[in-house]
């Protein structure tokens, strides 16, 4: 099999904020070797990147663990993750340097894109988000370039390919199930799909691409970039169809999950976030185990989300501002979210791959839209990393920055751990050329 060309999308500097991207070793043949530590071709097991995000930050105190290095004790807020102590790295004391002008927006833009929000429209990032930077490099290997899912029902999230170019999340477990495991899923061990319609559909996509190209020549500069994104979508879809015509990867851990059934509805005006998150967790874990994608983001709740949690007397955002200290209800909500994060990570830990687990082969960045929600602060930014990206990252430690280091360092380390050889991450005050050595291996 030939090594694929560098995906064209990685060359779109306009969309990637000028980041220089190169691809690590391609992961082609999915047959495990005899030890189960690598693929038969000699390549290591694929590494996966994920993002688990919730809105409205954390409390003023009670987040940062006691102790450093391997000897850390979960803080009061982090208690729900205590039994995953050895799988998680906590990074505290980091700061967003790209300005803090838009409450709930500036923080994630700084951490995930290394840049301020778009000046003309602060609903949009000005540069690609970390998940998409990684997907640009490794997304071409799998049926789906990346998957975005929402637990709170929403059309918005912070997965951006570039300015105004957001990837709306899938918020229905049932729709995600159908997209992943019904429409055109080929079970491992079975032969490639033989359907003349697949080739015909690809020829239509070719024709549509030609239309887009022809149109592009007649558009202004800004619309040309938008159409470029359209091409990316068309290319991704062509690749998806092509994958169906190839032998499916033979992955021992891959088993099509059960139909999740109807989506959980609201109960007395309150959404069933836990049930939705658990259903999504099962689907995402299996999507990765079946190598349908290697990049995902899960948006538990939106920035400024005013969701009514099960026992809360007011919406989440309102409570962060109006509840008197020590904000017991906000604390309860955080326990709820981190409890679901625990179960989510356990789905990954439960899947054996070779001599490790799916979680071992993943790096999942868990974070939120600010530090202390009432003040919208971006110092001591809440950052957790679950998994070790196949041994590239240290896990089970608490790294405490004592000098307000730049959050971009974490993003750079994560991208590099995924085999994306970036020279730097971020722009202007958000730019760093060194990762966070303390969490990297070797």
């Amino acid at each position: 099999m030939a090594i694929r060309m560098l995906p064209r999308r990685t060359l779109l500097r306009g969309l990637l904020g000028g980041a220089a991207v190169s691809l690590g070793l391609p992961l082609l043949d999915m047959h495990l070797n005899n030890n189960g530590t690598a693929l038969a071709s000699g390549s290591p097991l694929p590494r996966r990147f994920g993002l688990f995000f919730w809105g409205n930050g954390v409390l003023e105190t009670g987040w940062t663990p006691e102790g450093d290095g391997k000897d850390w004790k979960p803080s009061k807020v982090l208690a729900p993750l205590a039994d995953l102590h050895d799988e998680i790295t906590v990074v505290s004391g980091m700061k967003v340097y790209t300005g803090n002008t838009v409450p709930h927006g500036s923080g994630p833009a700084g951490l995930l894109s290394g840049a301020s929000l778009l000046k003309e429209d602060t609903d949009s990032f000005a540069a690609a988000s970390l998940d998409q930077i990684i997907a640009s490099a490794i997304g071409g290997e799998t049926r789906f370039r990346s998957l975005e899912v929402g637990i709170q029902k929403t059309d918005k999230c912070m997965s951006f390919n570039g300015p105004y170019s957001m990837n709306p999340p899938e918020c229905s477990p049932r729709a995600l199930y159908e997209r992943l495991f019904v429409d055109g899923f080929v079970a491992p061990g079975s032969g490639p799909k033989i359907d003349p319609r697949l080739a015909l559909r690809r020829s239509i996509l070719d024709a549509v691409s030609d239309d887009a190209k022809r149109l592009q020549g007649r558009l202004g500069a800004a619309d040309k970039i938008r159409l470029e994104q359209h091409f990316e979508g068309l290319r991704s879809l062509e690749l998806q169809l092509k994958k169906l015509e190839e032998n499916p990867p033979n992955l021992a851990a891959c088993k099509a999950p059960a139909d999740p059934g109807e989506d959980p509805g609201d109960i007395e005006g309150r959404p069933q976030l836990a049930a939705t998150c658990r259903a999504m967790g099962k689907l995402l874990a299996m999507a990765l185990a079946c190598d349908q994608t290697r990049v995902f983001s899960l948006w538990f709740s939106r920035p400024v989300s005013n969701l009514l949690y099960p026992t809360a007397s007011a919406g989440h955002h309102q409570l962060t501002h109006d509840e008197a200290d020590p904000q017991p209800q906000v604390f309860e909500i955080l326990q709820y979210i981190l409890g679901e994060l625990n179960l989510f990570l356990k789905e990954f830990a439960a899947i054996q791959e070779g001599d490790g687990t799916l979680l071992d082969h993943s790096a999942i960045l868990c974070t939120t839209d600010c530090s202390y929600a009432r003040a919208h602060s971006v110092e001591n930014y809440p950052i957790l990393i679950a998994g070790s990206a196949g041994g590239a990252l240290r896990k089970g430690i608490h790294y405490r920055s004592v000098s307000n280091e730049n959050t971009s360092k974490v993003s750079l380390s994560l991208a590099r751990a995924m085999g994306v050889n970036l020279a730097s991450f971020g722009k202007d005050a958000g730019m760093v050329t060194d990762g966070l050595g303390a969490i990297e291996v070797g």
């Binding site: 024709a207 994104q229 879809l237 005013n306 007011a314």
Partner: protein, 546 residues
């Protein structure tokens, strides 16, 4: 320039005659011509490509292929900007998942359109066999023009025919083959984006204008929120939409059609953010009157009133703030404490003279949307009035603002008292003074818009001041809003953004002022403003694509 500026004089007089003829309940004194106002400058709004919104996609399919086509619900969601889907459509891209969804929808739709019981709508010929290029070509020619809102070029037709023939040969069926060609039409950016290239304007050397076909799309999506119909496409083909008279004739036809009601409802729904009412979340324990039907019903009330104002009463836009007329179903009537006009569904009614409810400020849509899930919010309501209805730009709160409000207590029973700190701390009051006092006037309505006199056992004080105009109660606030000098310019600005799909630049302020002059001269009639906008240079001239 002459042919463009000349549109200013006759338009309103001709229109008033036409519109007043269908006005059922208002008798206006015959208007005297207004003094000439500022001229509409020969200045194009921004030019570029817009994604079809979800609604526009659905309505295009239904109009062109039939109302009985079932369209998949999962389509790339709209991304509103500056409050408008139409503006977001000029900037946002289509994601990879969106491309997948459009592909899936294209085949689902094509299959239905070519089902045996429907295919006669698309085919005027009987295929001679598995392949019949002439028959396929005639189908693509007719359908392509409707879907792409312009005629297809020969090479575009050739390619569609070749693709369909290949598919038909592979699958052994003419109609199955044709499905692939239709799926190509539906996935093409020529369908999914409204594009505009413009052409040199022979009447205005050095300037560009939209082509006749581009004007058909602009007019139709502005006034109908829908793809052009056959008559409009024929007018485009005849080249008359680049001429004043041809454009006027079609604009008047579109405005007189019932479809214009759909278009106007869509505009108003976006302007006031009423689509968010579908997601309304309220604590049902606190608000026993609340149920999931309330949000959509509340939106319907507001849209019916707007529709009534614009198309039936041809009323003064400002009276939307003060009217006692409204449209309710039994659920809303019970929440308002008034008799339901109909046992089922909506009917027209009047609030009693002594009712505190006046116009859209008293609508559950306004009051419930700009509240918290468990309580009212003077700040959210005030912000809505200020920023949406008066176009006052309120900055984001400083990121480190202390936003905590004290809990209700015997000393601080009402929200007015608890908000006191926002209004006395200079860091807060600089913005909150523009919002909270207006919202406090609406405190006699709870978080879902039900009337109350007291909060925690204490009478609520609804008095206040709007930019120097004092008022005693909600009715007074409604009147002050009605008379506020920014109310109608703000409406013009928002309609302009909706129509042109771009936020206005500084230079375009001149256009807005001239349009506002015409709006005022018409007696603040919304249809008059729509026509003036459609005929304005801003709408007809194009820039070099963005």
């Amino acid at each position: 320039m002459k042919h463009l500026t000349s549109s200013r004089h006759p338009w309103w007089s001709a229109l008033l005659i036409g519109l007043l003829a269908c006005s059922s309940e208002k008798t206006e004194p015959s208007p005297t011509p207004p003094p000439p106002g500022p001229e509409l400058p020969a200045l194009a709004a921004q030019t570029g490509a817009q994604r079809l919104s979800v609604t526009q996609y659905r309505r295009s399919i239904h109009a062109i292929l039939g109302d009985d086509i079932v369209i998949p619900t999962a389509l790339e969601p709209d991304q509103p900007q500056s409050g408008f889907v139409a503006v977001g459509a000029s900037y946002s891209t289509i994601s990879a998942r969106g491309i997948e969804q459009y592909e899936k929808a294209a085949y689902t739709i094509a299959r239905q359109a070519l089902a045996p019981e429907r295919r006669a709508r698309l085919l005027s010929c009987t295929p001679a066999g598995v392949t019949d290029d002439a028959c396929a070509r005639s189908a693509f020619q007719a359908l392509g023009r409707k879907l792409w809102r312009r005629p297809l070029a020969q090479d575009e037709l050739d390619r569609l025919v070749a693709l369909s023939t290949k598919a038909a040969t592979t699958l052994g069926d003419f109609h199955e083959g044709l499905q692939f060609g239709i799926a190509a039409l539906l996935q093409s950016p020529a369908f999914l984006y409204r594009t505009a290239e413009g052409e040199p304007d022979p009447n205005n050397p050095g300037l560009r204008r939209y082509t006749s076909y581009e004007m058909a799309s602009r007019l139709s999506f502005f006034l109908w929120n829908k793809t052009p119909d056959d008559e409009l496409l024929d007018a485009a083909q005849a080249g008359v939409l680049v001429e004043e008279s041809g454009l006027r004739q079609q604009a008047e036809r579109l405005l007189a059609s019932p479809l214009a009601r759909e278009g106007a409802r869509n505009f108003f729904s976006e302007y006031l953010g009423l689509n968010e009412l579908d997601q309304l979340s309220k604590d049902p324990v606190l608000f026993t009157y609340f149920s999931t039907e309330v949000g959509p019903a509340a939106r319907e009330e507001t849209l019916r009133l707007f529709e009534h104002f614009v198309f039936d009463a041809d009323a003064d836009y400002r009276d939307l703030l003060t009217t006692r007329t409204t449209f309710v179903n039994p659920k809303l009537a019970s929440m308002y404490g008034i008799p339901a006009p109909n046992l089922q569904g909506f009917g027209r009614t009047e609030h009693p003279e002594d009712s505190p409810r006046r116009g859209i400020l008293g609508h559950i849509s306004t009051l419930a949307l700009h509240s918290h899930p468990v309580s009212s919010s003077a700040t959210l309501r005030g912000r809505f009035l200020r920023s949406r209805l008066l176009c006052f730009k309120i900055p984001d709160p400083p990121v480190n603002a202390n936003t905590a409000l004290p809990e209700p207590s015997p000393e601080l029973p009402t929200l007015r008292q608890r908000l006191y700190s926002h209004l006395t701390d200079p860091a807060c009051s600089i913005c909150h003074l523009s919002m909270d006092p207006l919202g406090l006037a609406l405190e006699q309505f709870d978080g879902i818009g039900r009337f109350r006199r007291r909060e925690n056992g204490v009478n609520i004080d609804p008095s206040g001041d709007l930019d120097g105009v004092p008022f005693q109660d909600v009715q007074g606030l409604a009147t002050a809003m009605h008379d506020h000098p920014d109310l109608t310019p703000c409406f013009v600005r928002n309609l302009y953004r909706y129509a042109t799909a771009y936020p206005e630049t500084k230079e375009e302020q001149k256009t807005l002022e001239a349009l506002h002059h015409e709006f005022r001269a018409s007696g603040y009639k919304v249809r008059s403003l729509m026509l003036a906008l459609a005929l304005s240079p801003a709408f007809r001239l194009s820039q070099e694509p963005r």
